[in-house]
């Protein structure tokens, strides 16, 4: 194809125009006194399965709040970025939210890596940050509030249930090999051994492993009473498929610390029957509040919106907690909002009441244990007011406010 000058100029200007377009159209005309809310979630990429509902969630809740009069009679103006599961994007968008948008509050982050990338930036520019994804616990930062479950909350009650129900003494545990898996595994070992159980294995799998056949053979040889799985992400779904394929479904019970609708939707009901799992929220929670929430959600985002999980609801709760604190403080100024949050602000979300736990900046919330039955999360038990014990033993921001780190057990 011969390149003529004309053709090159045409192409170049088209490309340049196309590149400029997003910058032009995304420039929002903010109302003069609108409150600037920033959000960063992975809508695409390896964590896209988790990020989509969080991104939709924040848009949903900002809209809901604006329709009911905003915060302190001011509208919320949302700038939401798709970080594409890429840490550099997190850093760049955080810098942008801090220095260009000058956000008043930021919600977001999914993997622990993303949170740890973003935290120092938002701390440096003094922007209040809410992290709303269940994780391994330990974050102790005056500027950060965690709106999601820690291992003590997710694992504690569910493990107790599993140990009782299956009379389990011997546990075989498999984990995703990164901070979440490493730290959770140690937490679970402690908890299980306190109950007199024996952990026969703690194995770690890199996030891109898809073939679990060796693992399954080794599990068969070890003959444990319970398998605990802390596998994470799209590639690890393979385990939940290969396990029944090898004829193991129902032979040894499986409790998974990370198994929500995002994984379930990729699997057939027959493959996961009997799987035990636990989060703050499941869509199958049968309360009027949840039903109302879901019908609003569906009306807004589509009647056939896929099943949502705890991530969307934690995001929803976090924004409302911030709103309540701001209204209590009478201002959106960061220091005052933090002080207000630290009085123990609470909110009745679709999953039940959540309350800020002042010393750790985490939440006291209810957790639900569910068993996958006929392809649905059947609620077995609900534990109220579960505290983030694991973080609480290490972190007290009321006594020592000048902290900004993540503790390891």
């Amino acid at each position: 194809m011969r390149i003529t000058r004309r053709r090159f100029l045409h192409t170049a200007s088209a490309v340049a125009g196309g590149m400029a377009m997003p910058a032009i159209t995304s420039r929002r005309l903010h109302a003069a006194d609108a409150i600037k809310v920033g959000a960063m979630h992975d809508r695409t990429g390896s964590h896209g399965i988790y990020g989509k509902e969080m991104d939709d969630g924040i848009k949903f809740v900002v809209d809901e709040i604006n329709k009911s009069g905003g915060v302190l009679s001011r509208e919320l103006a949302l700038t939401a970025y798709d970080t594409q599961s890429n840490m550099q994007n997190y850093a760049q968008y955080a810098q942008r939210l801090a220095t260009d948008t000058k956000a008043d509050v930021v919600f977001g982050g999914i993997s622990s890596a993303s949170r740890e990338t973003v935290r120092p930036i938002l701390d440096r520019y003094k922007i209040l940050y809410f992290y709303n994804t269940f994780y391994e616990g330990g974050v102790c930062d005056k500027n950060v509030f965690v709106g999601a479950e820690t291992p003590a909350q997710m694992i504690g009650p569910a493990l107790t249930y599993s140990l009782d129900k299956f009379k389990a003494k011997k546990l075989y545990t498999i984990w995703a090999d990164y901070n979440y898996g490493q730290i959770c595994s140690r937490w679970l070992k402690k908890f299980a051994e306190d109950k007199g159980c024996e952990i026969v294995a703690m194995e770690y799998y890199p996030l891109d492993v898809t073939d679990f056949s060796s693992t399954i053979t080794k599990i068969q040889q070890a003959k444990p009473d319970l398998v605990v799985s802390g596998l994470v992400g799209g590639s690890h779904i393979g385990f939940y498929r290969q396990w029944p394929a090898a004829g193991m479904l129902g032979k040894i019970p499986v409790y998974s610390t990370v198994f929500g609708p995002w994984e379930k939707s990729a699997l057939k009901a027959s493959e996961i029957e009997g799987l035990v799992t636990s989060f703050h929220y499941f869509q199958t929670i049968d309360t009027p509040e949840n039903k109302a929430f879901l019908s609003e959600w569906r009306a807004k985002l589509g009647q056939d919106y896929p099943e949502i999980g705890t991530l969307a609801v934690c995001t929803y709760n976090a924004v409302h907690l911030w709103k309540k604190a701001a209204e209590q403080a009478g201002t959106i100024e960061r220091e005052k909002v933090i002080a207000a949050l630290e009085t123990g602000v609470s909110f009745d979300g679709p999953g039940g009441k959540v309350m800020v736990h002042p010393p750790t900046h985490h939440l006291v919330l209810s957790t639900v244990t569910a068993v996958v039955t006929d392809g649905q999360f059947k609620i077995i038990q609900k534990n109220e007011n579960v505290e983030p014990q694991d973080t609480a033993v290490l972190c007290d921001l009321i006594k020592n406010p000048n902290q900004a780190k993540q503790y390891q057990p």
């Binding site: 194809m1 695409t44 990429g45 390896s46 896209g48 399965i49 989509k52 090999d177 194995e203 770690y204 799998y205 890199p206 891109d208 492993v209 898809t210 073939d211 056949s213 060796s214 693992t215 399954i216 053979t217 080794k218 068969q220 040889q221 799209g234 590639s235 779904i237 393979g238 498929r241 290969q242 029944p244 394929a245 090898a246 004829g247 193991m248 995002w262 939707s265 990729a266 699997l267 057939k268 027959s270 493959e271 896929p306």
Partner: protein, 288 residues
């Protein structure tokens, strides 16, 4: 004893998977020297076409063995006609174009199918050896890989088409002087390579989750296998798969999957150092 038997089957299965998902690349690279960075995405398309076909009610085996390869072959032919054919001989540009295509295809699939999709469970149930059980599907994979290698051999060696293809690859000018159209040969070969990738994607889909980004996990290993195998397409891919697959699976069994991966990579480095032309640069020379 049962353990040994089960591990042996797992090794064969890993080797077969390698053969399957490298064969498409072996055809395209081996015959046309095109580095197709969109290879992983062709696999992914094979998996997705399987799921879609099943959803509309097609029988699993028909979808897997007929529909998926056919669909991806068409995609491959389109790729070749619209993009790749303008770039023959320009390896760098082919790299760039196929990388662009890989992103584009991933983007399209994400847009239309979202980030996750209900997959299919592994068919054929399980079987028992002593105290251990394993998935019967593994035998199917082993069978498929053997079929691919066998039919590849038969076609290349004993069919007129195979002769034309080999001749064109060796000397396109001479071939065209003899009345063969090289560009037609290239298109068909690309289509066949794509079909093989689609087949592989469909066959491997029941083993794990199907995501738009699933191709990435396979492309590295596919390249290593094809290059490690060397010049000869079939013998090369076959022997490299046996070597790498065995090392990977055995080491994984005795330690962990990470060490297994590392072992595979290290053996690739050592192999290429010792046999700089790949396995078939030294052994099985002049074979297919």
């Amino acid at each position: 004893m049962d353990t040994a038997a089960v591990v042996f089957i797992q090794v064969l299965s890993t080797v077969s998977s390698l053969v399957l998902f490298s064969s498409g690349l072996a055809v395209i690279f081996g015959m046309m020297r095109v580095i197709n960075l969109a290879h992983g995405e062709l696999l992914m398309l094979g998996a997705y076409s399987l799921l879609v076909a099943i959803k509309v009610g097609v029988n699993l085996w028909v979808a897997m063995l007929v529909i998926s390869p056919l669909f991806v072959a068409i995609v491959g032919i389109l790729m070749e006609r619209l993009v790749v054919r303008h770039l023959y001989g320009r390896m760098m540009d082919t790299l760039l174009a196929t990388w662009g295509l890989s992103l584009f295809i991933t983007g399209i699939m994400t847009t239309f199918f979202g980030n996750t999709m209900e997959g299919i469970s592994t068919p054929l149930g399980s079987f028992r050896i002593g105290n251990l059980t394993e998935s019967t599907y593994k035998f199917f994979i082993i069978g498929m890989a053997s079929a691919v290698l066998a039919s590849g051999y038969l076609i290349l060696k004993h069919s007129r088409w195979g002769l034309i293809a080999r001749g064109t690859m060796d000397n396109p000018i001479q071939a065209s002087a003899l009345g063969v159209s090289p560009s037609a040969v290239y298109t068909v070969t690309f289509g066949i390579g794509a079909a093989l990738s689609g087949l592989a994607g469909a066959v491997l889909a029941p083993l794990s989750g199907v995501l738009p980004t699933m191709g990435v996990a396979y492309i590295g290993k596919a390249f290593i296998t094809v290059i490690g195998g060397g010049e000869a397409m079939l013998a090369g891919t076959g022997s490299a798969s046996i070597l790498f697959g065995t090392i990977n699976q055995i080491v994984t069994y005795f330690s962990s999957s990470v060490i297994g991966e590392v072992a595979l990579l290290v053996s690739a480095v050592v192999l290429l150092r010792v046999l700089p032309q790949g396995i078939t640069g030294q052994f099985f020379r002049r074979s297919l």
